[in-house]
């Protein structure tokens, strides 16, 4: 699918407007920025996973030549910040809760001086017994990671189900589960474990902070500038307007740049350094160890089957590792309920999900979030059921798919669930199952799976203004994070509405002083939500333009149309007026042409009494997906190669097919990394993998070309029928590759990543006389 320069946008693979600067190497990413007179910051991080701070002496650090500021918890308000639950200090004050937790920060003329100053800080800790794992945390009588958990403020207000080391518990019960299991003809049970994954954005996190006149200005490459603003305001106990966040081009985020990173430290250091700009930047290795990876989890599923093999009861339990502090993760347990009954009928169900504190670096959002581990468990479990019943794995799924009008466990009805079947059929046309599953080439296997995914519904607000040269600027708090959602998607929607070329739509970088609140680039919301707002006010802008042009063309506004960057009469009488002229005309009498609009969607109807502890109890902007993978296992070494990968994805309306394909290909590649190559293990509170050499990212020679089919059933709710596209492609990858590997070796796999060690162990266990049982 090649990008083109078409004028009409929707449905065309129009070139992104940010590509030219990127291929020239001219795009200035956050990490490329410098400020005149800037200082260099460094953090002192805790060397142990749990302990009390006995002493922290800063005198020697302050004496290092070139040092301009040294700050600790004593220099900032004694408050806790947080996205939903305020449990996080800026610096550890009396105790440290994870290896890597910031304890102090310094700013100096040079990086070398800053490093020397950090070395010169004297930190004396008394180490405690640490909680290293979910199991440790949940054991009766386990020490508390947060003994004062009761005092923490829950921001949405009111009561919230949490206790001790469980930061959130979400429970959903539908129907009589106990009875279903009593009646069951057969019960199938599985436990799955899933490990952490680092987002591995190639541009490490960085920030520049400047404090002048009590106001803080922060420059950062971030997916959610308003979140950074709010977090800094919390840490410093200030009104939000005292903080200004300027967002810049970022080299990858994938959810890892949704919460604060180095920004608050840069801001505070600047204040203590007399207002001089302070830059902090991580190395790749520091980002790897610091905070925010995909959570590790343990998921147990039990299914009660009747005599025909239908699932009449399901128990689903997911324990998710929060790490030491809570960020976005509070929203995760609540998605289990919808996922547990999302694709196949399950009858009665009890779903429980716990977010568990441990003394490890806090986990965070990464494409697909905890939904990846949940679907991995569900779909590997489905293969298990099919094998127990002796039914073909694809056939079993088709028999029990949700039908149109069926509901999720939350009670939310899916009127278009029939798309699931269509997606299975679409995959079948490209990759016929019988051929792949019966071929019986040694050491080859095939796997299939399906999911229902969501579009993040965070409301949007956008301002459009017509520039005096006829171009249009889109002012928003969201940003182009690389997916093309702005440089293509939103750009195309605006261009379409106003009859412009995409290159005439200007995207200034976000500035929280200028734009109204926006929920950031996350959860595939940008094109749908920002696009929705942009389209709404493009219409307002259009009305203003036509009204002003009406004078110039001696016609009523209804007789006019927009196209080719100009206004002309519909009746094709001669004469047209370029937008630049429209903007300039009456400028000093009537003023400039601009419009602002909000966009929000009412949540889908659901039954709020079914779930407790769910921050996002419904699935707005539903999309449907079926993935298939064919793999080959090397029986000598246990390594796995993905031979073929097929995706059928419901997108509502494909605004830019080439872009969508890029998101699918990229998401699958990240999923292959998660499943086969990447590994972020914790050992007694410390990361085992410390650099890119051991944190292996998938390479060009590791990833097949994904075969993609797009389904387009417009969502009646959304502008142009768009459904969120970019997040979902990772969700099914560990599930279908896991199923394919299990098919290839004839034994199930219960962990992610699937390591050659584990595969070789399974292969040798199955060999009558294993070679080198060593």
């Amino acid at each position: 699918m090649r990008a083109c320069r078409a004028v009409t946008s929707i449905g065309s693979s129009v070139e992104r407007t940010d590509s030219a600067a990127k291929v020239r190497g001219e795009t200035v990413y956050a990490i490329d920025r410098i400020e005149a007179g800037m200082l260099h910051g460094q953090l002192l991080r805790s060397p142990v996973p749990a302990g009390s701070i006995i002493r922290l002496e800063t005198a020697r650090a302050r004496a290092v030549p070139g040092v301009r500021a040294v700050i600790t918890a004593a220099d900032v308000p004694d408050v806790l910040a947080g996205w939903f639950l305020r449990d996080t200090p800026l610096f550890a004050r009396k105790v440290v809760r994870y290896a890597g937790e910031p304890v102090a920060a310094v700013a100096a003329d040079t990086l070398e001086a800053a490093r020397a100053a950090v070395q010169a800080l004297e930190l004396v800790l008394e180490e405690h017994e640490a909680i290293h794992s979910i199991e440790d945390a949940l054991r009766t009588g386990a020490a508390l990671v947060h003994p004062e958990w009761r005092t923490y403020q829950f921001l949405p207000g009111g009561e919230w189900p949490r206790a001790g080391n469980v930061a959130t518990r979400s429970v959903c019960e539908v129907g009589d589960v106990a009875s279903a299991f009593r009646r069951a003809h057969r019960v199938v049970e599985d436990t799955f474990s899933s490990n952490r994954q680092f987002q591995a954005f190639l541009e490490a996190r960085s920030a520049i902070g400047i404090c002048r006149g009590g106001r803080y200005v922060v420059h950062t490459g971030h997916q959610y500038p308003f979140n950074v603003r709010d977090r800094i305001a919390q840490f410093l106990d200030l009104p939000q307007s005292w903080v200004r966040v300027c967002g810049h081009a970022l080299g990858g985020g994938f959810g890892g740049k949704l919460d604060y990173g180095l920004e608050p430290y840069a801001a505070v250091l600047s204040r203590f350094a007399g207002g001089r700009p302070v830059r902090l930047a991580h190395s790749f290795a520091e980002d790897l160890a610091a905070a925010g990876p995909r959570d590790n989890s343990i998921i147990t599923i039990r299914s009660a089957l009747d005599a025909s093999g239908a699932i009449i009861g399901r128990e689903f339990r997911a324990d998710l590792d929060n790490g030491a502090y809570t960020g976005e993760m509070l929203a995760m347990p609540g998605i289990a309920a919808n996922i547990a009954g999302a694709v196949y009928r399950v009858g009665a169900a009890r779903v429980e999900s716990n977010l568990v504190y441990t003394n490890t670096p806090p986990t965070g959002a990464f494409r697909g979030v905890s939904g990846v581990a949940m679907y991995t468990a569900l779909e590997r479990h489905m293969d298990h059921i099919a094998r127990e019943l002796g039914v073909d794995r694809r056939e079993y799924r088709l028999r029990h798919l949700l039908a149109p009008g069926d509901a999720l466990l939350s009670g939310q009805v899916l009127p278009d669930a029939g798309i699931l079947r269509e997606a299975f059929d679409a995959v079948e046309r490209i990759a016929p199952w019988a051929g792949l599953s019966n071929r019986r080439q040694p050491w080859r296997g095939v796997g299939i799976g399906a999911c229902v995914w969501v579009t993040n519904p965070g409301p949007a607000s956008v301002t459009l203004k017509l520039n005096e040269d006829g171009t249009v600027a889109v002012l928003s708090g969201a940003i182009e994070i690389g997916s093309g959602s702005f440089a293509a998607g939103v750009t195309q929607l605006v261009a379409e509405e106003l009859g412009l070329r995409p290159t005439d739509v200007v995207l200034p970088e976000p500035d929280t002083d200028v734009a109204a609140y926006d929920s950031g680039s996350q959860g595939s919301r940008t094109v749908r939500m920002i696009g929705g707002a942009a389209r709404a006010e493009a219409r307002q802008l259009r009305a203003q333009i036509l009204e002003r042009a009406a004078h110039l063309l001696q016609a009523g506004p209804d007789d006019l149309e927009l196209g080719g960057g100009a206004v002309r009469r519909r009746d094709a009488a001669a004469g047209q007026v370029p937008l630049a002229l429209v903007a300039a005309a009456d400028l000093f009498q009537a003023g400039p042409i601009a419009a602002t609009a909000r966009y929000a969607e009412p949540p889908p109807a659901f039954d709020p009494t079914r779930s407790s502890g769910a921050l996002m109890p419904a699935f707005p902007g539903v999309s449907y997906h079926v993935h298939l993978a064919e793999v080959e296992v090397d029986p000598v070494t246990g390594t796995v190669r993905v031979l073929r990968y097929v995706v059928a994805q419901e997108v509502g309306r494909a605004i830019n097919p080439a872009n969508i394909r890029g998101q699918i290909q990229g998401g699958v590649a990240q999923g292959i990394g998660l499943t086969l190559h990447e590994s972020l293990r914790m050992e007694r509170g410390h990361c085992v993998e410390r650099s890119m050499a051991t944190y292996r990212l998938p390479l060009s020679v590791d990833v097949p070309d994904v075969e993609v089919v797009l389904l387009e059933h417009p969502d009646p709710q959304a502008p142009h029928g768009i459904r969120g596209v970019a997040e979902a492609p990772i969700v099914l990858v560990p599930a279908v590759i896991g199923n394919a590997v299990a098919d290839a070796i004839g034994q199930p796999v219960h962990a992610t990543p699937i390591t050659p060690e584990e595969i070789l162990r399974l292969i040798m266990a199955g060999e009558a006389d294993p070679v080198a049982a060593g």
């Binding site: 699918m1 090649r2 990008a3 083109c4 693979s13 070139e15 992104r16 940010d18 030219a20 990127k22 291929v23 020239r24 190497g25 001219e26 795009t27 200035v28 990413y29 990490i31 490329d32 954005f201 190639l202 541009e203 080299g251 990858g252 985020g253 994938f254 190395s283 790749f284 679409a426 490209i430 690389g482 997916s483 093309g484 059928a648 494909a654 097919p657 080439a658 872009n659 969508i660 394909r661 890029g662 290909q665 990229g666 590649a669 990240q670 650099s691 890119m692 050499a693 390479l699 060009s700 020679v701 990833v703 070309d705 994904v706 075969e707 993609v708 089919v709 797009l710 389904l711 387009e712």
Partner: protein, 161 residues
């Protein structure tokens, strides 16, 4: 500090550096040519790839003085006279640029490849790019920018509703 002389993007360049500085730090820090990116700083990711005498080299691990007197090319030198090079155009047209951070390194490696092999196969492109990590694209469109599509029936079909 000593003076380093090298031929950079066709021009003679002189810059004062510390004796053992890496070429990457000299390009980004001293010459403020930030098109060459810093990422892993371990020679694992290829984001810092430049050409030295036409060969791709990880500039994060290459001493700047080792490039003295040699021909160094960075991404800033590809667009001659401001016009995008054909390879740059092909990447744009193939929708192969997402966040764009790996793009300069990819461009340098691909430039070297195309000079040796004007019509590489997809397999040859993948081999050549094994040292250039991309986290966004999953590589397929980058490979296609150079080698054309390999998928049988069009990579992005649409099913009738």
């Amino acid at each position: 500090m000593i003076e380093l002389r090298l031929q950079l993007n066709g021009r003679d360049e002189r810059v004062a550096i510390e004796p053992a500085e890496t070429l990457l730090d000299v390009l980004r820090g001293r010459l403020r040519l930030t098109g060459t990116k810093e990422s892993c700083r371990e020679g694992e990711c290829g984001a810092c790839t430049v050409l030295i005498d036409g060969q791709p080299v990880a500039s994060c691990l290459y001493a700047a003085q080792a490039a003295a007197g040699r021909r160094v090319e960075t991404v800033e030198g590809l667009a001659a006279g401001g016009e995008l090079a054909p390879l740059q155009r092909r990447l744009i047209e193939a929708a192969a640029v997402q966040c764009g951070y790996c793009t300069p390194g990819m461009l340098m490696t691909l430039t070297a490849l195309l000079r040796e092999q004007p019509e590489p196969t997809a397999a040859q492109v993948r081999e050549a790019l094994a040292g250039n990590v991309c986290r966004c694209t999953g590589y397929a469109q980058i490979v296609e920018a150079v080698a054309g599509s390999v998928l049988p029936a069009g990579p992005c079909g649409r099913a009738a509703p």
